[in-house]
C-alpha cells in the first residue's frame, strides 16, 4: 500500500500541497484528478522523490520513503512517467531504454539485449516497438509515451505513477493504453494515474481522489460519481462547454488558401502530400488526426520554420503578421521560460513592432500592454515581470492565446491548444478563439488537434489529416466513432 501522510509543500508564497493524505492499494488503478495547479504533479514528484516535502511523509508497504531522493524511491519500487517527455531526442529508443532497468549487464552496454527485453515486454503489453536504431526525435508523441512507460516498467516497479499519460493519445490509441493499465493492475501493481480527463478516470480507475488548490476535496469511486460531479468538485463551479458554431460559415473569399502543399523530409519520405484546403473569414476549422500524421510539419511550414517541397500558401489581406501560430510544444517552441511575460509577449513580431520605434524598444509600453492582456485574458500571474516558467500550464497557454489574438492576425493556427489543460482553462481558451472568430473583423482559426471532442465542440467545419493527406468530412458528420475511423485512415 502506498500512503502519503499530511504532505505539505510550498513554492515561494504558493502552497502547492496543503497537508494532503493519499492512499493507493495494490491491484488498483487510482486516478488523481484536479485542475492545472491543483497540486497533482507536485504530489507525484514528492511520491517519486524528485521533490522533497516540507512536512509529511510517504510510506510504501509500511516503510517510510526517504524524502527528496528519486533513487531511493526507485529502489523502493516507485517509478514515474512525467508529463513532459524526458527522453533524449537524438539518441535511439534502445539507448533511451538502456537508461532504465533493462540493462543489467555489468559494465558493458548490450543494446541488443535491451531491445530484446523491451520487445518482449512490449509484446506482453500489446504494442510494437519502433524499427531498430530509430532515433526518438522522429517518433510520434504516442510512441514516446509508450517508450517512457516502458522505461518506467523496466525497473519492475511496485508503483507506477503516470502524469497525464493520455493527453497526447488519439482516441484509437486510448483503448489500447487503458488496457495496458489494466494489465498492470492485474499484476498486482499500484497504478496512479494523474489526469484531467474525467471520462477516462471513470472508465479505468477503481478509486478517484480529487485535488483542488493543494487540498484533497473528495475521495470516491466511479460507481459513486459522475463526470459532472467530478468537474464540479475540481473547479468548484460547473463550466458549460461553449456551444459549437454549427451554422455554415459565411462563404466569403478565403482568408487562408493552401494549395497542393507537399513536404518531403531529408530521407525522401513524404510528410505532407498535396494538401489543399481553404479557410474563410469568421470560420473555425478543425483538423483532426492521430499525432504524427504531418500535423507538426504542417504547423512548421505555416509558421515559416520549414520550407515546403512544393505547393502554395496564400494569405489574403496581409503580410507576415497576418497569421499567428500557436505551436503545440508551448514550453519549447512557444515560450521562453526564463524570460519575463512581457518579453514573451513581444516575441510576436506585430507586438514587437508595436512597442519599438526606430529600433528602440519601449519597455514601459511593452509592460503596459502585458498588464492589459493579463487582465483581459485572466492570466494568473503576479505581473508582467514574472518569468514565464513560473506560470502553470493553463496560464502559459492563456498567455500564448492572448499573444496570438493581440497580434491581430487574420488567421490563428493552433496545434493541440488545450492539451494538458483543465476545464476552466480549456473553456477560457475556447471562448477566446470563438470571440476572435465572431468579432466583426472576422478572424479565422485553424485548430489542429487529436482531441476529437474538443474539435467537435467548437469547430464549424472538420477536416481529417491522415498520413499527410487532408480530407474534408461531410458537414453533418459528427459521429465520433466514424470520425475516429477516418482518422485511423479509413475511406469516407
Amino acid at each position: 500500500m502506498l500512503r502519503a501522510n499530511a504532505i505539505t509543500r510550498r513554492f515561494g508564497r504558493t502552497l502547492a500541497l496543503d497537508a494532503v493524505d493519499f492512499e493507493a492499494l495494490p491491484g488498483e488503478i487510482h486516478a488523481l484528478v484536479g485542475e492545472n495547479g491543483a497540486g497533482k504533479t507536485t504530489l507525484m514528484n514528492v511520491l517519486a522523490g524528485s521533490l522533497a516535502a516540507d512536512h509529511g511523509e510517504a510510506v510504501l508497504d509500511g516503510r517510510r520513503l526517504q524524502s527528496g531522493s528519486p533513487r531511493a524511491a526507485l529502489a523502493a519500487g516507485i517509478a514515474a512517467v512525467h508529463q513532459s517527455p524526458m527522453l533524449f531526442e537524438r539518441m535511439t529508443w534502445e539507448e533511451n531504454l538502456a537508461l532504465g532497468g533493462f540493462d543489467t549487464g555489468a559494465g558493458a552496454l548490450d543494446l541488443d539485449a535491451v531491445a530484446a527485453r523491451a520487445r518482449s515486454l512490449a509484446a506482453k503489453l500489446g504494442f510494437e516497438m519502433p524499427p531498430a536504431g530509430a532515433t526518438v526525435e522522429n517518433r510520434s508523441v504516442a510512441e514516446r509515451v509508450r517508450l517512457e512507460v516502458l522505461r518506467a516498467l523496466s525497473f519492475n516497479p511496485r508503483v507506477l505513477i503516470l502524469d497525464e499519460p493520455t493527453s497526447v493519445l488519439a482516441p484509437s490509441e486510448l483503448a489500447a493504453f487503458l488496457d495496458l493499465l489494466r494489465s498492470l493492475r492485474a499484476d498486482g501493481r499500484i497504478v496512479v494515474m494523474i489526469t484531467h480527463k474525467l471520462a477516462e478516470a471513470i472508465a479505468v480507475a477503481d478509486r478517484i481522489t480529487v485535488l483542488r488548490r493543494g487540498r484533497v476535496v473528495a475521495r470516491t469511486t466511479p460507481a459513486d460519481t459522475s463526470e459532472a460531479q467530478l468537474a464540479g468538485l475540481m473547479i468548484g463551479e460547473i463550466v458549460t462547454q461553449p456551444a459549437a458554431s454549427a451554422a455554415p460559415p459565411p462563404s466569403g473569399a478565403p482568408v487562408l488558401l493552401i494549395e497542393n502543399l507537399t513536404l518531403d523530409d531529408r530521407t525522401g519520405r513524404r510528410i505532407l502530400d498535396r494538401l489543399s484546403f481553404r479557410v474563410a473569414a469568421g470560420e473555425i476549422v478543425g483538423i483532426a488526426g492521430v499525432d504524427g500524421n504531418g500535423q507538426t510539419e504542417l504547423v512548421e511550414v505555416l509558421a515559416g520554420v520549414r520550407r515546403p517541397s512544393s505547393g502554395k500558401v496564400t494569405l489574403h489581406g496581409g503580410s507576415s503578421g497576418a497569421m499567428a501560430v500557436i505551436p503545440q510544444n508551448r514550453d519549447l517552441d512557444g515560450l521562453i521560460l526564463d524570460m519575463r511575460l512581457w518579453e514573451n509577449l513581444i516575441l510576436a513580431r506585430p507586438l514587437r513592432e508595436q512597442v519599438t520605434s526606430h529600433g528602440w524598444l519601449n519597455v514601459s509600453r511593452a509592460i503596459d500592454l502585458c498588464r492589459q492582456l493579463i487582465d483581459r485574458f485572466r492570466i494568473r500571474a503576479p505581473g508582467p515581470e514574472t518569468l514565464a516558467g513560473a506560470l502553470s500550464g493553463g496560464n502559459r497557454q492563456r498567455l500564448e492565446v492572448a499573444r496570438a489574438i493581440a497580434s491581430r492576425p487574420r488567421v490563428i493556427v493552433a496545434h493541440n491548444i488545450c492539451r494538458g489543460l483543465d476545464l476552466a482553462a480549456t473553456a477560457d481558451v475556447h471562448r477566446a478563439i470563438l470571440d476572435f472568430a465572431s468579432a466583426p473583423s472576422g478572424g479565422a482559426a485553424v485548430l489542429i488537434s487529436s482531441d476529437l471532442d474538443e474539435l467537435l465542440a467548437i469547430c464549424g467545419r472538420l477536416l481529417i489529416i491522415s498520413r499527410g493527406k487532408i480530407r474534408e468530412t461531410s458537414p453533418g458528420q459528427r459521429d465520433p466513432e466514424r470520425l475516429g475511423l477516418l482518422m485511423a485512415g479509413a475511406r469516407d
Binding site: 509558421a303 520554420v305 512557444g334 518579453e343 516575441l347 524598444l361 519597455v363 516558467g389
Partner: protein
Amino acid sequence: MLSSIAKPFAALALAAALISIVLAALGASPIGVFAALGEGAFGSWYACADTIVKSTPLVFTGLAVSLAFSGALWNIGADGQLTIGAIAAGAIGPHLGNFPHAIAIAIILAAGALGGAVWGAVAGWLRARRDVNEVISTIMLNFVAVQALSWVVHGPLMEPSRAYPTSSPIARAAQLEFYFAPSRINLGMILAVALAAACYLLLFRTGAGFELRAMGRNRRAATFFAIRIPALTLWVMALSGALAGLGGAVQISAISHRLYEKLSPGWGFEAIAVALVARLNPLGIIPAAILFGALDNGSQAMQRTQGVSPELVQVIQGLVILIILAFDTPAWSGLRENIFGAPHDAAAAAPLAEMPDA
C-alpha cells in the same frame, strides 16, 4: 538584484581564504601577500592608473564575449579577433602621419574594428550558412590569427632595419595621448565605458537586442517567431569581433605603438572569465575587467615585495571563476527562490550552464 553584486565579492573572499591556505603552506604570510597585491593594484595614483590601463583590453574583449554569449554564440575567438584588429591597426598606423590627429585616430580605430569584424564574421558566416560550430571555428581562427601576426612581423610589416621582429611604429598622429603623464591613462578606457553603455542599450533597449537575447535563450522559439537567425548570427559575430578588434587597435594606438609577436597575453580568453563574472551584463563587464586587471597589476608588486611567483595570481583568478560558477548552482537559486518566489519548474539555470550543442 543584490545577490548578483554580492556574489562576486563573496567568491573573491572565498578564493582569498583558499589561497591563504596555499600561501601559509608555502611559508608566506597571506596578509602580507594580499596587502602587497592591493598596494600594487590600488596603492597609489600611478598604481590605480596602471590597473585601469591593464583592464582596458579586457573591457573590449569582455564586451565582445558577453554580446556573443547573450545570443548563445560561443565566441571563444576574441583573442584572434583582437589580434587581427591589431594587425590592421599596426599596418595602417605608420601611414597616417599626414592626417590631423582626430582623423588619424578615427582611421586607426576603424581599421581595428573592421579587422576584428571580418574575423568574427568568418565564424558567423560558417555558423549561419554552413552550420559549423562557432566554438571550433573561433578556436581555429585564433591559431590562424596568431600565426598571421607572427608572419607579418617577420615579413611584410617588419621594420625597415629588419633587426627586430616588430612592425614600424605608428605615426604620432595616430597615437592616443596619455592624459596624466607619466601615468598611461588614455582615451581607451573612456571609449570602453561608452561602449559598455552602448552594448547595454543594444541588448536591453532595442528590438535587435531583444531578438538576440531571445535567440540565446531559446533558439527554436526564436525561429517560430520569424527571428532571422542566420542574419542575426552573422551580424552579432561581426559586431563581437569588431569590439575585440577595437580593443586591439586601442592597444596599438595607446600603448604598444607597434606590432610584435605574442601581443595579447590572452585577453580574449580572460575575457570569457570577465564576461561570466559579469553574468554577461555589459555594465558588469567594467568592474569585472578592473578586478582582473587589478589582479594582473598587483601581482608584480606581490612578487617584488613578498617573493611570491606572479603565477599565483592566475591561481587566484582561476579559483575566483570556479567559485563564482559554483555559487551559481541550485544552492543559490534555491535561496533566491525562497526569497523572491521564483520559478520552480523552469529550466531557469544560468545561461552559463548551457554548453553549445556539438
